[in-house]
Symmetry: C2
Subunit: 284 residues, 2 copies
Amino acid sequence: MPSNSKFSYIHHEIVPVENAFLHVRDLSIQRGYGIFDFFKIHDGHPYFLDDYLDRFYNSAAIMHLTVPHTREELKSVIYTLIEKNDIAESGIKMILTGGYSEDGYQPAEPNLIITQHSLTLPGEDQIKNGVKIITHEYGRDLASAKTINYSIGIWLINKVKESKAMDVLYHQHGIVSEFPRCNLFIVRKDNTIVTPAHHVLHGITRKNILKLAAKRYRAEEAIVTLDDICQAKEAFLTSTTKRIVPIVQINETQIGNGKPGEVSLSLLKDLIALEDADYKAKVF
Amino acid sequence: MPSNSKFSYIHHEIVPVENAFLHVRDLSIQRGYGIFDFFKIHDGHPYFLDDYLDRFYNSAAIMHLTVPHTREELKSVIYTLIEKNDIAESGIKMILTGGYSEDGYQPAEPNLIITQHSLTLPGEDQIKNGVKIITHEYGRDLASAKTINYSIGIWLINKVKESKAMDVLYHQHGIVSEFPRCNLFIVRKDNTIVTPAHHVLHGITRKNILKLAAKRYRAEEAIVTLDDICQAKEAFLTSTTKRIVPIVQINETQIGNGKPGEVSLSLLKDLIALEDADYKAKVF
């Protein structure tokens, strides 16, 4: 990733990023076994940090991995890294791997790696014009854990590019779940806001949008089908980095009037305000 | 893995094994993206090397990764490593990762790692008494590619141990496919030898057993159900390291008379003879 940061955390110490290595015995390299999480930094402040740490510890528990630090120790490492790297707008990634396995299969003491990166935000045109998505029949393993397994998402990169789409939505027998790195929302014609309930990663932005939407609309987690999306008034994807990106086309079908909808854009304003409030609450 | 070898190959050179590192930007660590293969060495000779190289290049092609060497270059690296490490009985693992990704998602120039290891062969008691297996509903993504994604297999390790089983067999709606690292065979009451046809990795040992079985029995790739296994006269698993291990129990159901069957054991003899012939053909 664009590594304009100077320092990373690995093997229990902060080292120059160019020295952040794992021996090939690590179970992430041997067997793709590990979990991670990622959160945004604004002006030295991590947005919604406790939510991301909750999910990180939960992913580790699901995959039978032990985070080698208490929550307070982990926070202190994170804040030290933020201070040393001093990048106002950035993201922090925490990876916890299966560790240096003796036999290349059994997990050992996990390796924890923390790196900081610049952010690639969605282009203004994506917000202004909305994006196209395509679909693929697939369901992530152990979807509630944020594992490092992105084999299918990465395998589909060329198909997404060839389709001039921004992303690919997973579904099983027409019931949709999530994107490789984003959650899906639709706005029904009656202004009910719905996100798939099952077989999804519980995104922190997804959680925030459900909370914000409930203030002004009916908001629910439910079963969403491909047909529901085609019939929807609006659709959008959410992620930590992308916040909200309006979806105006799924495969060859236009969604709503083919333009970003006002509900989507008003929720984006609300989300930015919520981030701002989270920042002010900690800083002032 | 038990690394009693002195040297590994990484970043286009042979280095002391303790220096075989990847930077954390590698896509195997970031996204579990990579493929691999593994073959056995006897007295400096790799068994069935061309079959394993065929599969390695095929896995790379399926996952849109380019092996940075021609087949002849790769063979020459392998033989140099075998000579330098000088371990009579061992295994060689080749891993090809998504490389040092700029954005932590898009594959870059792949990293190729080749390591040599001692082998953990199945215990005599496993051959003599046979083993128990359990089952789990799951299907590997892109099963014909030998990817490094073993999230579910490793996640199930504790369940296998608690069940006092040797391994876990994947099935979808009762149609079985494979084990995390082995193929399945059954011997029907009419002595037909069957291995699951679809959604499996095409094991080199699987291929050899099909060939050997066809000489003396009816042998086929077909759909195999959980019930077929319960009704079978014999069952066994195959892998490069394990060769053939008789299966005498699936979950709580005994298979056949609960003892390793003569067909399974005769095919094990044939396989050992085939390995010996492959060795002699190259060496003498």
